[in-house]
């Protein structure tokens, strides 16, 4: 097979073939090594950050302090319901909790404009189920939002087995007013199971297919950006009507 014209030497002679091959190998190896190194570096960087936030729970205790909780709700029981559908392993749900939720609580829950309602889904895997059982069980002591927040603060890699009994106990021990033994003994209670079913039914009814998804009453929030400003832009028009 004849080589393409652009590959041939000017005079048609294959001058310096060895040098050309060496150059080719150098380009090929260099680009491959650079791409591989970049991929490995990015993987290492992304593994290194964000898994734990030791002070998160302490900070959040202040965010939640003094706001009434009842089961899955946070805030004034008479206020309109802002329902969050979330999976404890979903990174965006964790990001929402860490980045956006404090401002939502400050601006909308403390002011009585809305009450937050948590609807947990467990579609990512076994760790989702175990974490969600713990969260719902905390609702029986009206500490759901504290445990939820504590778990998001230490959110681990999906389905890595990060939701261990030890981790749950550590999270629970930081929650003021939570009876950790009673809490951990109630993770497979009928009440917890009923919450699973209720959330699953509500998600199916509203056509929730991804998390986090938010509804003000029956109206879905069109969230363009997972930032405090993005959340305000989504909820303010609905509250203003």
């Amino acid at each position: 097979v004849e080589k393409p014209q652009w590959r041939r030497g000017r005079s048609g002679h294959h001058v310096g073939v060895t040098t050309q091959r060496r150059t080719l190998l150098l380009v090929f190896g260099g680009v491959f090594a650079a791409a591989a190194a970049l991929a490995v570096a990015l993987v290492l960087v992304s593994r290194g950050g964000g898994d734990t936030s030791p002070n998160g729970t302490v900070v959040r205790a202040t965010v939640l302090a003094g706001i009434p909780q009842a089961g899955v709700t946070l805030g004034n029981p008479a206020a309109p319901a802002l329902t969050e559908y979330a999976d404890l392993q979903c990174p965006y749900c964790g990001e929402f909790d860490r980045v956006v939720l404090p401002s939502v609580i400050r601006d909308y829950v403390r002011t009585g404009k809305v009450k937050l309602v948590f609807r947990g889904l467990a579609f990512i895997g076994p760790d989702s189920t175990k974490a969600l059982q713990a969260v719902y069980a905390a609702g029986e002591q009206d500490r759901l939002w504290d445990v939820l927040d504590g778990l998001y603060a230490v959110q681990g890699a999906e389905n890595s087995g990060w939701v261990t009994d030890d981790l749950l106990r550590q999270v629970g021990e930081r929650v003021p007013g939570l009876d950790a033994d009673r809490w951990l003994g109630a993770t497979d209670s009928d009440a917890v199971e009923q919450q699973f079913v209720a959330a699953s039914d509500a998600a199916a009814k509203h056509g929730v297919s991804s998390t986090p998804t938010f509804f003000l009453g029956d109206r879905r929030l069109d969230l363009k950006a997972l930032t405090p400003a993005g959340f305000r832009r989504a909820i303010d028009p609905l509250l203003g009507e």
Partner: protein
């Protein structure tokens, strides 16, 4: 004999791959816009997974950059460009292989868009290597 047919094939495949990657990058920031096979749920699960980002950069965006670079290489009649594109496509394919493993073993969920991109990338890599081997001294 010109290598034009191969370069055209590479350009077309890279353009298709770039289209898929651009869509996945967009829905990474606009999760509500994601269209997936009915009832599979795999797209959401994979695209909202922590493996969908590396150091804050969407994996789909990395794919988009790769496709665009390979597309650019197809526009250049240079052996070095052919070598660079082959290496880039091969590295991308290896990375895509790891992501397939993540979908199968860790997430237990399949994203059809990602798999379509993987198929395009496999063909693209083959075309790039064919171009390189055919032209190499």
């Amino acid at each position: 004999v010109s290598d034009r047919p191969l370069r055209v094939a590479i350009a077309l495949l890279a353009a298709v791959g770039a289209g898929i990657a651009a869509y996945l990058t967009w829905v990474h920031y606009e999760p509500g816009a994601l269209v997936c096979l009915r009832g599979s749920g795999g797209c959401e699960r994979v695209n909202s997974s922590r493996y969908a980002e590396l150091a804050g950069i969407p994996v789909a965006l990395l794919g988009l950059v790769t496709y665009v670079l390979v597309l650019a290489s197809a526009l250049v009649r240079s052996l070095a460009a052919a070598a660079a594109a082959s290496a880039l496509a091969l590295a991308g394919l290896a990375f895509a292989g790891w992501l397939v493993y993540v979908q199968a073993s860790i997430l237990d969920a399949w994203c059809p868009w990602c798999l379509a991109s993987d198929c395009v990338l496999a063909l693209l890599t083959a075309a790039c290597l064919a171009r390189l081997l055919r032209a190499a001294p």
